[in-house]
């Protein structure tokens, strides 16, 4: 049985640090809502009407499993946005975008890496036409894939 890990609502300072990083990495200027963490890396975004205080009160009364949607991961100070993270902020993302072509999208959505030299060593927002697909990590000769297994396109009869 796993023990209950309490929710951590990001403080004003932590939220400011996140905002600075989002702008630096992706040009995002305004990510609104309550940001929370459970564990060391995973960041969640809640955009409902309950206040931080009300969420805390709720947690004292009943076991809260999830608040909002998985937004991204903080990996040593760098933010890796989830599929939903990129979709929610798609109108604000101006930097570090990699556009996939018709062949690459097949590979990407099947969970495979893209063998390409981008000249970057950063998290890139992956995009296909008007679809935002989360982030990949560019390194010397490839972009590493982070599409979760349950979101990958499966081969027929698999």
């Amino acid at each position: 049985m796993t023990s209950y890990i309490p929710l951590k609502i990001l403080s004003k300072k932590e939220k400011e640090e996140l905002a600075t990083q989002l702008e630096k990495q992706f040009g995002i200027k305004n990510a609104e809502g309550i940001f929370l963490m459970r564990g060391q890396e995973r960041i969640f975004l809640f955009q409902g009407s309950l206040t931080e205080k009300q969420i805390k009160e709720l947690e004292t009364a009943v076991p809260v499993e999830r608040v909002g949607v998985y937004f991204g991961k903080n990996i040593n100070g760098q933010i890796r946005l989830s599929i939903e993270g990129t979709q929610m902020l798609k109108n604000q993302i101006t930097k570090n975008i990699f556009e996939l072509d018709d062949k690459q999208i097949e590979l990407w959505m099947k969970g495979q890496e893209i063998l390409i030299e981008t000249g970057k060593n950063d998290f890139l927002v992956m995009k296909y036409k008007d679809n935002f697909l989360g982030c990949g990590k560019a390194s010397e000769k490839k972009i590493t894939n982070f599409i979760p297994k349950n979101r990958r396109l499966r081969e027929k009869n698999n």
Binding site: L45, G48, L58, T60, A61, E65, R66, L153
Partner: protein
Amino acid sequence: MKAKSNLQIKPLFLERMQKLLPDKKDFQAYLDVLKIPPVRSIRCNKLKISPSELRKKLEKKGWKIKQPWGDYLEIMSVENELEPGGLGRALEHQLGYYYVQELVSMLPVIALDPEPEETVLDLCASPGSKTTQLSSEMLGKGTIIANEVSMGRLKILASNLERCGATNVIITKKDGVALCCRIKKYLPELKFSKILVDAPCSGEGTLRSSPKTYKMWNIKTIQNLPKIQKNLILSALEILKPNGVLIYSTCTHAPEENEGVSDAVLQELGNRIRLERIKLPIKSREGIIRWGDKSYSKEVKKCARIYPHDDNTEGFFIARFRKIK
């Protein structure tokens, strides 16, 4: 009678359905429709894409799309044949642009009619089809508390909510009755304007899509569930705002779980609540007031019974309660 997959309908179930549908032609139409697979239906997730954009994308793939319910443009059926599992395997599905959902399963949220900015409780939320529909209808505003007691089902709920980008949802894990009691006791200021109790049920309405129901059907389940269902409604009503609305729904035809439960709630709460008529985009029949040796309040006629052969769907039951005080 042999149904699809050579599964046999149990004689007592047939006998009960015949009592519910005494007209021979009507009953035969019911039996006939069970042999046909249900319509392939999807619901556009308006949190991520508009119905017109989604339709365009899907038609580009060669899918034939219909929007069968007039003003409800988010509700679509896919008319052409697809590979098995084709709906769930598409890129648009994996990106959360649509949710695969049976047509009648969309009705409770239509009956609840949630508004953005409201505080809504979905008491038995997994797998999340109705929670994601609520979030979509509320345009990601307000707050939805989605509760589920089973850890296995909770994971499916969380995964579906994530895929749909439902940022206004909080998931809680508690037995439904206990959750309501704790909210009432420890958070007396937290009251809901709308509550959905899509209760565990015997599932008689799902025979077309879920052949395992043929095997699992058991009269004892029907005798045991009403107590649980009634308790869920009664506890939920305690944390509903005055003038708030509670939808009770099941995917079964069994009167004990439907009108029987609704009647028991009315008897227990008297003039604190009332049942209201429900406007739905498909044909429904009024609730029954007699079943075996039981007779129910005439008020339960306001409930909606949906039979699969009336509009080529699955079967369902919906009751709409309004709290007066």
